[in-house]
């Protein structure tokens, strides 16, 4: 345990040794602190952006998943168990991705909370440092300064080291997630996963449309056959006369379904 404590302090002292006038070091360090504070705040914003993007993707994946479930049900209703199986197996692959994204989401949320707290702590310490810095400068005596500056320094530089690491970790995690999020966006755009706009049709949907389209065609054929059987003279008349009236007169007997449309 002792060894870890020494890393930070060694570095703080090194920074102090380099400066000829310790007062300059105070101002320089304060600038660095403000920069770091900016960086943490940006870090919080970046993580929040990634989190929101993940939420968007989760929504898309979930709606795709429920769509596949509907497709499975419809395929089964149409007697196509093979198609239903395909839809459901895609859904389970998707569910795996959803679970994965949910884990990442909670990781990012944790990261966001940690960074937010880190920003608060650093802000409080930077404020305290500024006060101390001004006091030291106002009552400066060379003999005293070294020790007092050293004390203020090691406290804040330790915090800065810690916060710097926290940001670095958050950035790494965000970068990893962004690469994966990009891959999912590509997948969504390629139509492999259907997007919510309904612009792309996946192959299952195409097959279902074809099947139910086929059903409509069958019904239409039946209707026409019934129409023809109903009386060739009447349909002849309808074609020649072309009046809507003669058609509608005929329908109620032969094709009640047509009437509803």
């Amino acid at each position: 345990m002792k060894r870890m404590g020494m890393i930070f302090r060694a570095k703080a002292n090194k920074a102090l040794d380099r400066a000829e006038d310790p007062r300059e070091t105070l101002d320089y360090s304060y600038q660095k602190q403000l920069e770091l504070l900016q960086k943490v705040r940006r870090g919080v914003a970046d993580v929040a952006t990634s989190r929101k993007r993940l939420e968007l993707q989760l929504n898309q994946l979930q709606s795709q998943s429920s769509k596949l479930e509907d497709q499975g049900r419809k395929a089964l209703a149409l007697g196509r168990e093979d198609l239903a199986r395909e839809a459901l197996s895609r859904r389970s692959a998707l569910q795996q991705q959803v679970t994965d994204l949910e884990t990442q989401h909670s990781t990012l949320q944790g990261e966001e909370e940690k960074l937010t707290l880190a920003a608060q702590r650093l802000q409080a310490k930077v404020d305290a440092f500024r006060t101390k810095k001004e006091t030291i400068k106002a009552t400066y005596t060379a003999a005293q300064a070294q020790t007092r500056i050293g004390e203020a320094f090691s406290g804040i530089s330790e915090e800065m080291g810690d916060v710097g690491l926290a940001i670095q970790r958050a950035e790494d995690k965000t970068a990893q997630l962004q690469a994966r999020a990009g891959a999912i966006d590509e997948l969504l755009a390629s139509g492999a996963l259907d997007d919510q706009s309904g612009m792309h049709k996946d192959d299952i949907q195409a097959e279902l449309d074809r099947l139910s389209g086929g059903t409509d065609v069958e019904l239409e054929l039946q209707r026409m056959k019934a129409e023809l059987a109903g009386g060739s003279s009447a349909s002849q008349q309808a074609i020649e006369g072309g009046t809507g009236q003669s058609q509608s007169q005929q329908q109620p007997q032969d094709t009640p379904r047509f009437d509803k449309q």
């Binding site: 404590g5 570095k11 409080a124 804040i156």
Partner: protein, 92 residues
């Protein structure tokens, strides 16, 4: 004694707890050297839990340096090794 848990902040601990913590710290060091990942994680969590339990959080605006610095709970073996190496992960 002031202890920092990285990513969490600082707490003040009575020196009398040091013996207890040192035992866990020895375990941790051994697990790190043996590359025992699961053991390392378990011991690290136990150590941090103890520090949080026994320690009194320092106010945010405190500028006191820590005597001990402990890795964050999710730190990997490699990260801790890097921390202990000469260069360290600490910027500046």
């Amino acid at each position: 004694m002031i202890v920092r848990i990285m990513g969490e902040g600082q707490v003040r601990l009575a020196d009398s707890h040091l013996a207890d913590l040192n035992k866990l710290d020895d375990e941790l060091l051994a697990e790190m050297e043996n590359g025992d990942g699961p053991g390392f994680r378990r011991t690290l969590h136990a150590l941090l839990a103890k520090v949080r339990e026994l320690g009194e959080p320092l106010p945010d605006d405190s500028l006191e340096p820590s005597e001990l610095i402990l890795p964050s709970p999710d730190a990997t073996l490699q990260e801790v090794r890097d921390l202990l190496s000469d260069d360290g992960l600490i910027p500046g």
